[in-house]
């Protein structure tokens, strides 16, 4: 029985501290920093392991290995191999352009160029040294990373620039196996819902604290790498029962770089009608509504050194403009976003590195109401959104094997939705200002008129919605590497602590506290206006909800022998989410143990067997806590004299909702969790080509749901027959996390992958996924109607059963590599869909009469995208022209996974219309 020996060698890069006192001071200071700091600090840097071997494949101790590269702030780093002939460079920026050189007193110099270092799992390379001749090798990426135990992929900047990836980090995640998009552009990762992921930018959690979806738009050109993790990841990545999207941005380098690009995309090139299908899958004639779409991107990015090797900067700007109209809506949705991103990285000494980052993403969206042709310009809505993420990071390199990494981040986002600003410009199809109104005046007082049954929305937009979301987080992580184990091998130990404080302030109401609803006597015939009824509402309500999280994690990567990696650790999160009364709706102490191992049985980096188990917890969102907030939106519905025959159950011609929110919470809640088991087999079958089989099972339990503690329903749940509280018109939701609210996902990936060599790379993947359960997304009222529970369990729409992906990039052999082609093919099977029937519970079409998703199928689709780039050398710099075509076959019939439903009139409707062919043209200048 021995002790783990913590070795903290003093800095080899700077002036050594004097003696044991200084060493103790360093450790003490590190611990103090940990205590005052705090959260999840995902991998932002890379690790490079270098094995140095001689002609006989024996380890070479005493070799001086130097790492250099333009992105390596602080200058070159040199380490000396130990008895195992190995060195490890940690906390280095991810890059595709590193160079290694090895020198030895008795051997010739060896060089290794084009070394790619990715975030996440360590990169491992081998350098050969000869006693006879100097060796210079251009490194190729290994077909298998035998160090990795996680499931997922790292998408590099180089890859993203060559593949038709859609110029957003959300859409780029679809390149990874097991990722399917939902209707809002958020990815469903590994069968989980799109609001169950963690989104991180430069190590900071930027997930929307209310919705759980992505919180910020971002400049695509400033992305260095995107790590998409489906599972098997370690506690430092935070906590999530979905996946992790970890974006690491460019930091600049010693090379001054200027990139300016313009992209234009047009999707008006094919018929884009709303598809219709019969219940048996037979396609019916289209509806005749067309959608149109254009988008523009203007990008500028400058990066380089402020002080060579000491300080790098990057500054980028993007203007994204999108003009789209869906299903015949006369006003185009006008999205105008401006994304600014800047980062300054300073390394004044070998011990300290400081990074300051700031990004903002203000955007306006005019005419956001789409999908109906019956809307007048003055009834359209306008949304202003945006916010910022500012972070400060301090990396303290106590030694080559010890570092303290501290990040503080403030994230703030705003959403304001209301009526369109008026204009005096009669040429514009917007609400015209009335006398006395200034240009841009927003009318919050005139009640809106909404139409149903084809009547026009007119007069004014109905409601207002203001939301400000904020997260402050501070995280600190202590990394100790190369800790020798007396029984063999080394440990890489990480310990982190953190906190996140979140809040949302919200105001919502109706303009003029009134809404008129116009009705046609003949559906969808605007010439048959019949009458109106109206809704009188309470004054706008205002509330604030808060969340507080404290956490720590401890993890170890133990390599008892060279060909075995055991990653284990645990994570603790203390999470409290409070409603507007300050009541702790969710209060949890969450433990997330993980144990994963990767074994390279022959030790030649050509085979990997990885397996393990992990528990992943959901910490809750402010949206969940807000379910029981006291603030409620009161309303009184007047049917009026013309509708007295259609009144409520008591023959009154109105109904009302109380001002106070009626929802409650069960006394005992348990935060949802996912248990995951994985088994991965990978083998490099020929040079640069690997095949793999990866299986995972994810078992999620206790998802958030609510039931109804008030209303009593008929045998199929479609009529109300009584009330437990004597209030037959109102549903009293009760927040629960029942064991029945569950999801089981099985995924099996079969893949063949060729890494970049001989100018081309490719990956072909077949993915089988099966998701069964009761709940697609949390808190959807799955358990609200007792009798419906019998139909709840079934296939979920978070996956498609069969997905085939093929990716290829080819650098055409016209040296010096001036042309590139990237291809992305995606074929996906259909998803089962429901037909819903009218239910009194929700006063809408939501009831099933048979098991979930067994009515019919949304047909599958396949999609082909191609990107072609031509490089033209100029006197200073390079011009890159590109053309990218998405959905070439025009077969991507609403590729989003949530958008299909057999509607009440037995029409098969995709709420997101068919994706059209889209062409994107780009010009990019770089020097």
């Amino acid at each position: 029985m021995g002790r783990i020996r913590l070795t903290l060698p003093l800095s080899a890069r700077g002036a050594p501290l004097a003696g044991a006192t200084a060493r103790l001071l360093q450790v003490f200071a590190a611990l103090v920093a940990l205590l005052v700091a705090s959260p999840a600090l995902a991998q932002q840097d890379g690790t490079l392991i270098v094995d140095v071997l001689d002609d006989s494949d024996l380890e070479v101790p005493g070799a001086r290995v130097t790492l250099s590269g333009p992105a390596l702030i602080g200058g070159s780093q040199t380490q000396v191999t130990g008895a195992a002939g190995q060195v490890k460079f940690t906390a280095i920026p991810p890059s595709t352009d590193y160079a290694l050189s090895a020198e030895h007193d008795t051997l010739q110099v060896s060089k290794l160029n084009n070394v790619v270092v990715k975030i996440g799992s360590p990169t491992r390379v081998t350098m050969k040294m000869s006693g006879i001749e100097e060796i210079v090798v251009t490194e190729k990426e290994k077909a298998i990373n035998t160090e990795s135990t996680s499931r997922g992929e790292v998408l590099t900047k180089d890859f993203l620039q060559k593949i038709p990836s859609g110029r957003s980090y959300q859409s780029a995640t679809q390149m990874a196996s097991g990722v399917t998009p939902d209707s809002g552009g958020n990815p469903n990762i590994g069968g989980a819902a799109s609001n169950e992921n963690t989104y991180m930018i430069d190590g900071a959690n930027v997930t929307d604290p209310v919705t759980g979806t992505f919180g910020n738009n971002f400049n695509f050109d400033a992305i260095q790498q995107i790590e998409v993790l489906l599972g098997g990841y370690m506690p430092e990545y935070g906590v999530s029962i979905g996946g992790v999207v970890n974006v690491v941005t460019d930091s600049g380098s010693n090379n001054l770089q200027f990139i300016s690009s313009v992209y234009y995309a047009n999707s008006n090139l094919r018929p884009r009608t709303d598809e219709r299908w019969g219940h048996d899958g037979v396609q019916l004639a289209p509806s005749g509504f067309e959608q149109t779409g254009q988008s523009f991107f203007v990008n500028a990015l400058v990066s380089g050194p402020v002080v060579r090797d000491k300080a790098f900067f990057i500054l980028s700007y993007v203007n994204e403009r999108g003009l789209d109209a869906y299903a015949g809506t006369p006003q185009r949705r006008d999205y105008d976003g401006h994304y600014v991103y800047g980062k300054l990285t300073i390394q004044p000494s070998s011990e300290h590195r400081f990074t300051l980052g700031l990004q903002t993403d203000p955007a306006s969206i005019a005419n956001g109401t789409q999908g109906t042709p019956y809307i007048k310009a003055e009834a359209q809505d306008n949304q202003e959104q945006g916010g910022f993420v500012g972070n400060a990071r301090w990396q303290w390199f106590l030694s080559p094997d010890a570092s303290l990494d501290t990040v503080a981040t403030l994230q703030r986002s705003n959403i304001r939705v209301g009526s369109v600003p008026c204009t005096h410009d009669t040429r514009q199809d917007r609400r015209q200002c009335r006398p006395g109104e200034e240009e841009g005046y927003i009318d919050w007082y005139t009640p809106g008129r909404s139409g149903i049954g084809g009547a026009y929305d007119s007069v004014n937009y109905a409601s207002m919605y203001f939301s400000t979301r904020q997260r402050f987080q501070i995280t600190s992580k202590l990394s100790l590497t190369n800790i020798k184990d007396p029984l063999g091998g080394t440990h890489d130990l990480k310990f982190g602590i953190g906190t996140e404080q979140t809040s949302e302030s919200n105001l919502q109401g109706y303009n003029g506290n009134l809404l008129y609803i116009d009705v046609n006597s003949t559906s969808y015939d605007p010439t048959t206006f019949a009458n109106y009824y109206y809704l009188e509402t309470s004054s706008p309500i205002r509330y604030q909800v808060n969340g507080s999280i404290y956490n720590f994690f401890l993890q170890d990567s133990w390599k008892p022998v060279k060909n075995l990696t055991i990653n284990y650790g645990t994570r603790y999160d203390n999470s409290v989410m409070r409603n507007d009364l300050g009541e702790a709706v969710l209060r949890a102490n969450l433990w997330g143990p993980r144990l994963f191992a990767a074994w390279d049985p022959w030790g030649n980096q050509k085979t990997k067997i990885a397996t393990g188990y992990g528990r992943f917890n959901d910490r809750g969102t402010l949206g969940i806590a807000g379910f029981t907030s006291a603030s409620g939106f009161g309303s009184k519905l007047f049917f009026g004299e013309y509708f007295d025959n259609y009144s409520n159950g008591r023959n009154e011609n109105y109904s009302y909702s109380p001002v106070r929110n009626l929802n409650i919470s069960n006394d005992k809640l348990r935060n949802p969790y996912t248990d995951e088991v994985i088994l991965t087999l990978e083998r490099e079958v020929i040079n640069d080509v690997a095949i793999s089989s990866s299986m995972s099972g994810k078992f999620t339990r206790n998802l958030y749901e609510f039931d109804d503690v008030n209303l009593v329903y008929s045998e199929n749940g479609d009529s109300i027959i009584g009330s437990r509280r004597g209030d037959v018109n109102n549903l009293y939701g009760r927040l629960r996390t029942p064991s029945l609210a569950r999801r089981d996902v099985f995924q099996w990936d079969l893949a063949a992958r060729k890494v970049l060599s001989h100018r081309w790379a490719a990956r072909v993947t077949y993915t089988f996924q099966q998701a069964l359960g009761t709940t697609n997304r949390s808190l959807t009222g799955t358990f609200a109607v007792d009798q419906q529970v019998q139909h709840n369990y079934g296939p979920l729409q978070t996956v498609r059963n069969h997905v085939f992906r093929a990716l290829a990039i080819w650098d055409l052999p016209t040296d010096p590599w001036t042309q590139q082609i990237g291809i992305f093919f995606l074929g996906a099977s259909g998803v089962p869909v429901d037909r819903f029937y009218y239910g009194a519970a929700q006063q809408g079409y939501s009831n099933r009469i048979q098991a979930r998703r067994t009515y019919t199928n949304d047909p599958g689709f396949w999609d082909l995208g191609i990107r072609f780039q031509q490089y033209i050398d100029l006197r200073k710099g390079q011009l890159q022209l590109s053309v990218e075509a998405q959905n070439i076959t025009n077969n991507r019939g609403g590729g989003y996974i949530y958008n299909a439903q057999v509607y009440q009139n037995n029409r098969f409707v995709r709420f997101i219309r068919q994706d059209p062919l889209q062409l994107m043209f780009g010009a990019r200048y770089e020097f």
């Binding site: 149903i452 049954g453 006597s521 528990r615 006394d667 009529s719 029937y837 006063q843 048979q850």
Partner: protein, 317 residues
């Protein structure tokens, strides 16, 4: 070192096993099942049998059966006109109407999809084996006519009209004719909600889905299940618990489309049963049948109880 690893391993295992493998919500939610029995004698109606007026059971007259879970019973006040449950249904007109708050409930059969005016409040689900039976039943009371005023000639025509009106494609969606519940590939009397037993009485199963079960503070009684059967009026064929002014949904189509007829169950039937019980309806009386508990309704002592609840008291006034 090995001890260190053992400690770490044990801790991880303990955390894994101890951090949530089992979760007790603190509430007992059960799917509670049972049967309802209606004596055939209470279903008798005067019909012509071989030209001779004879009282024979008429199960088509069985309307929706409303089952409610109420508080514990007190001694039945058999001196009043109707049996009652003390904190549940109130049948005595002198008592406050509408003060019955059930803990839960369900129905056997329901009213929905009234596609033609003559069908309003006259058709409960799963009482007919085919559409001809249904049409004949309604025609006794009012001639079923289509939207042009022409008589509907056959059950199949009625089926086509209603499916077209509601954009439905299967009998299950329309909800009037039962599925082949017993799997004998024939939809017959044995597939209806109420099937005749060997003793000649009629029996139907019920499920109280996701019922939250509790034990009273005295630790004895969960609650009492009590039911009433809305019987079709002899004169009009209509059900008293049916609100013909209430649309199936307060949706736009109900307002704007004249083909969408109304008529659904009142929303407060279990709160105000006295308001909807008419003469001829049958309620749960003292359970004095063989094996009965001698109380009004069935008093649950365990959520796994499978009660046989007799609807054995015919309301006569």
């Amino acid at each position: 070192m090995s001890r260190t690893r053992a400690v770490i391993g044990s801790a991880l295992l303990a955390l894994s096993l101890g951090s949530g493998c089992h979760f007790d919500e603190g509430i007992v939610v059960e799917n509670m099942v049972g049967t309802v029995v209606v004596p055939s004698t209470l279903l008798e109606r005067l019909q012509s049998v071989g030209g001779v007026p004879t009282n024979v059971p008429e199960p088509k007259a069985i309307g929706p059966v409303y089952l409610g879970l109420y508080g514990g019973t007190v001694d039945a006040d058999v001196t009043t006109s109707y049996p009652y449950v003390a904190t549940g249904p109130v049948f005595d007109p002198t008592r406050t109407v509408g003060d019955a708050y059930p803990y839960g409930g369900t129905t056997i059969g329901q009213l929905r999809n009234t596609c033609l005016a003559a069908l309003q409040c006259r058709v409960a689900s799963n009482r007919f084996t085919n559409y001809d039976e249904l049409l004949d039943w309604v025609n006794q009371y009012e001639q079923v006519v289509d939207l042009n005023g022409d008589p509907v000639e056959s059950g199949e025509e009625l089926r086509q009209i209603c499916m077209g009106q509601y954009d439905l494609t299967t009998d299950a969606e329309l909800g009037w004719i039962p599925p082949d519940r017993n799997g004998d590939e024939v939809v017959d009397d044995k597939d209806l909600d109420f099937v005749v037993r060997e003793d000649g009485n009629y029996e139907a199963e019920f499920t109280l889905w996701q019922q939250e079960y509790f034990t009273s503070p005295d630790g004895e009684t969960g609650f009492t299940i009590w039911a009433f059967m809305d019987t079709a009026s002899v004169a009009s064929g209509e059900f008293g618990s049916c609100n013909e002014n209430q649309s199936f949904g307060q949706n736009g189509e109900a307002y704007t489309n004249p083909q969408y007829n109304t008529a659904v169950m009142y929303r407060d039937v279990l709160n105000r049963p006295a308001s909807y019980i008419d003469a001829g309806d049958i309620v749960t009386g003292v359970q004095d049948q063989p094996g009965g508990n001698g109380e009004i309704g069935y008093v649950y002592h365990d959520p796994d109880d499978i009660p046989e609840l007799w609807l054995n008291f015919e309301v006569t006034q």
